[in-house]
Assembly symmetry: C2
Homo-oligomer: 506 residues x 2
């Protein structure tokens, strides 16, 4: 049994290392690669993807997992070996359901579709991508059909990133959240908007970057095991537990960009840096779901990084870094600026109150498309209508409407958006649990100290990787299932201090 | 036959792409990787190496090459397909001679030995690495023994980087060169040394880098297909013909470091950028030998970059970039400074006249060790003796003696140094051919124009990749075999203007 377990770990380690190599190719493509490297880079990534898929679907791996079942069953559920075998089997079963030929077809279509989108969006030309999107929808349905046990076509697609969640569950959670959010948004929108002009001066790039790095160093992001580089669309990426990098982008005319993106990505990265070292080289060495991952980025970005206590410590320092821009701006004004709520067109620029409405629109549309209730041809119009209904504003074109997000144009339709809102919900639920366990956290934050919070998160969440599903982890950490209550409480408390929310009580 | 050729190309492309992926891992390790990434990086590189070796020694590839022999024989020697099959067979035969198990053992010993060296050199502790080096010598001999047809144990080792060269040939060339060089070095050393204090002021890094980039842009290094980053030990590396990068290092207290390293690496890189695009993805897409590669880096660094004509154009610009440091320094003084000849301890810092004496020492010692005439235990002492005899000076310790170069400590003993001097020799021989074909080149250089020279090199050398061996290429380009005459002529002409060489006529 020892030998078989060692065999399993060796196989997984090779896959892990090849996946990390592909990750580095992607990181380089997004940061430093010269334009001329693009054609070969696509080939190199495809070659690695082919190899890892081959190795992951090797029938010998399936036999090994069968042989290891008695060992797994002899161990407690929480034993690392049991978790390793269980999680590997789950992945093996998923990977082997999808024929190689189909996966290759889908991935090559995604590349073509993405390329078309990069041309269609600036040209505001939905027609250009419509046929690609129609094929993506067909392929997404086909992909879902490879999985027999499902209540909804979206279920297996959701399971790719949020294992354990179903379309119906998410739909119910989102309906609940939506009912409480809409009155909040309406109450806030009826009041004069916050003035964020203090963020929209000229902020030299180097000082923005240096300040952001100083902040996340204090958070506990380990620069011996990571670094930050510039890119177009910020992301965090792990090559090993000893090398988890983040990327950011800087706008010299908007202070709110790089700083919060850096905090956000550091949250993702600290999760991966905090994995149990013994999980290295296995499938356990990764955040457990897209929702839980996003909860960690949002926790550091919003619950910590946009809190008043945080800025009581950091604002005087920021004023020293940017004296010309901020010396006459009060902490109150700055705090209101970074928490400005505004109904706006672009998801990625949205504040924490309205953000989830963007996500729900997309999630609902995914279900509607998969169910055949919404044709691709009707998508742009449906987008504008729903947007008008939810936000009271209309995008002037499709560029800032249905064409704004890359997700549907570079992968599949179904299961690609829910994690963002699940993450927002969980961020508040986990943070409430942290504060209950460690009531000193807010005071420490006011002193620029984050060790207790970081330590608690590492202990409660980070170290476990994929050992527990998102639902199991939520239960362990908070004592109950996912709930929107903490999130609503958080928003009402915070924004109740900034706005008059008396009309928002449902 | 078409299908078999396509099969061959597909196999080679996968190997090429995986090799490029490993290249990127190495590049990252040498430029941006945080310290914590090291253990996993070693594993990732080993995984890719294992895979490419597996694919390269696949017996199916051997059968394919057999099947393609009639096709190859039906084509002219110079036909691209014939070259592709010929060169692939040469590599296949070499790769399959060495058992996988042995290659893995050698590579893992190299990693351990390298690690020991990184500790031994700063501690000046040869004893620490002696057992590693003894094992390296044993393994190097074992490696050579896998190849049956050889006149000298060093021959197959030399063939790894300088295919077609033999120990005896190199020995004869070096003896010839040495005989002419020693009087030159002696004559120069008897005169007062040049004053290079103008290079040893404070030169801010950013301006050094910007100036170097401006120079190589004019050379014709294509930044759409490359970039420069900082590292400890500069190198050039290709991920595809569309992505050939260089690295450099900067010393703020010595202007001679980054600038000439940048020119040097750009020479390597322009060779790879200039390969025939149709060779992409095959074994033909690479410089043909270490000697020819070095000839291209040296040509741009020394024959162009340290020439008077070059600086007639660039020196006024350099003075504008560094006015405080250079406004009172004449072109003559600067030109003498960058061409200072000095008997010094470190190969990589040596000038173009004494450099080859460093290489010959190492080459001779490689042969002596392989032949069993020189024991590892006696190496430090032998080094100091020979150094005293050749240079008239003695290193104060082994750190700047036998421990200075990484080569023997990170790979093998045999065949790892000759390329540097073969490159110096060929750089002058190729440059003479270029000037004969395009007499306008020197005037163009004086105007900061390099198009004719770059175009000629691309046409005569770069585009051919590995289609021709170094010897074939030399014959085609210069009309004769490798010869030291042009190199000696070049040195005598150039240094005859800077020093009195009347006593050096042999």
């Amino acid at each position: 049994m020892e030998a078989k377990l060692a065999d399993l770990k060796n196989r997984l380690q090779e896959i892990y290392d090849l996946t990390a190599a592909a990750g580095l190719l992607y990181w380089d493509q997004s940061t430093y690669m010269p334009r001329g490297g693009a054609p070969a880079r696509a080939r190199q990534l495809a070659a690695l993807e082919r190899l890892t898929h081959e190795k992951f679907t090797d029938p010998a791996l399936g036999r090994l997992l069968d042989d290891l079942r008695p060992h797994e069953e002899s161990l407690p559920y929480e034993h690392d070996d049991a978790a390793l075998i269980r999680v590997t089997r789950r992945h093996y079963e998923r990977e082997t359901r999808v024929p190689v030929e189909f996966a290759a077809r889908m991935s090559s279509h995604a590349a073509e579709s993405y390329h078309a989108w990069t041309e269609a969006r600036p040209a505001n030309d939905f027609k250009r991508v419509q046929p690609y999107l129609e094929k993506t929808l067909d392929l997404s349905r086909e992909l879902a059909e490879f999985f027999p046990d499902k209540d909804h076509l979206a279920d297996p697609l959701i399971a790719y990133s949020d294992y354990g969640m179903q379309a119906e569950t998410v739909r119910a959670i989102f309906a609940d959240l939506r009912e409480r959010l809409v009155p909040l948004v309406q109450a806030i929108s009826a009041q004069p908007p916050a003035d964020d002009s203090c963020l929209r001066k000229t902020y030299p790039e180097d000082r923005q970057l240096a300040f952001g790095l100083e902040v996340i160093k204090r958070f506990g992001y380990d620069f011996e095991r990571g670094r930050q580089d510039k890119t177009h669309h910020p992301f965090a990426i792990k090559f090993s537990i000893g090398d988890v990098r983040i990327t950011t982008r800087v706008k010299e005319d908007f202070l709110g960009e790089a700083l919060f993106s850096t905090m956000h990505e550091s949250g993702h990265a600290m999760y991966e840096q905090g994995l149990a070292p013994g999980y290295e080289g296995t499938l356990l060495a990764r955040g457990t779901s897209s929702g839980v991952h996003e909860s960690q980025s949002r926790l550091w970005e919003n619950l910590v990084g946009r809190s008043r206590g945080f800025w009581e410590f950091f604002y005087p320092q920021l004023q020293m870094v940017f004296p010309d821009q901020l010396k006459d701006v009060s902490l109150d004004t700055f705090y209101r600026a970074i928490n400005k709520v505004e109904r706006s067109l672009i998801r990625t620029d949205a504040d924490e109150v309205t953000y989830n409405l963007h996500v729900m629109l997309r999630f609902d549309f995914e279900l509607a498309m998969l169910e055949g209730r919404l044709a691709i041809a009707d998508l742009p119009e449906a987008w504008h209508e729903r947007f008008k209904a939810d936000f009271g504003i209309t995008a002037p074109d499709d560029r800032d409407g249905v064409l704004q997000d890359v997700h549907w144009f570079s992968g599949r339709i179904g299961g690609v958006f829910q994690g963002y809102t699940l993450g927002n919900i969980l961020s508040a639920q986990f943070y409430e649990a942290a504060l209950a366990a460690q009531p000193s956290i807010p005071d420490e934050i006011r002193r620029g100290e984050f060790g207790t919070l970081h330590g608690w998160l590492k202990e409660a969440i980070y170290q476990h990787g994929r050992k527990f599903t998102a639902a199991e982890l939520t239960e362990r950490v908070t004592g109950g299932p996912l709930s929107v209550e903490p999130y609503i409480r958080y928003l009402k408390t915070k924004y109740g201090e900034l706005y008059d929310l008396s009309g928002a009580e449902a």
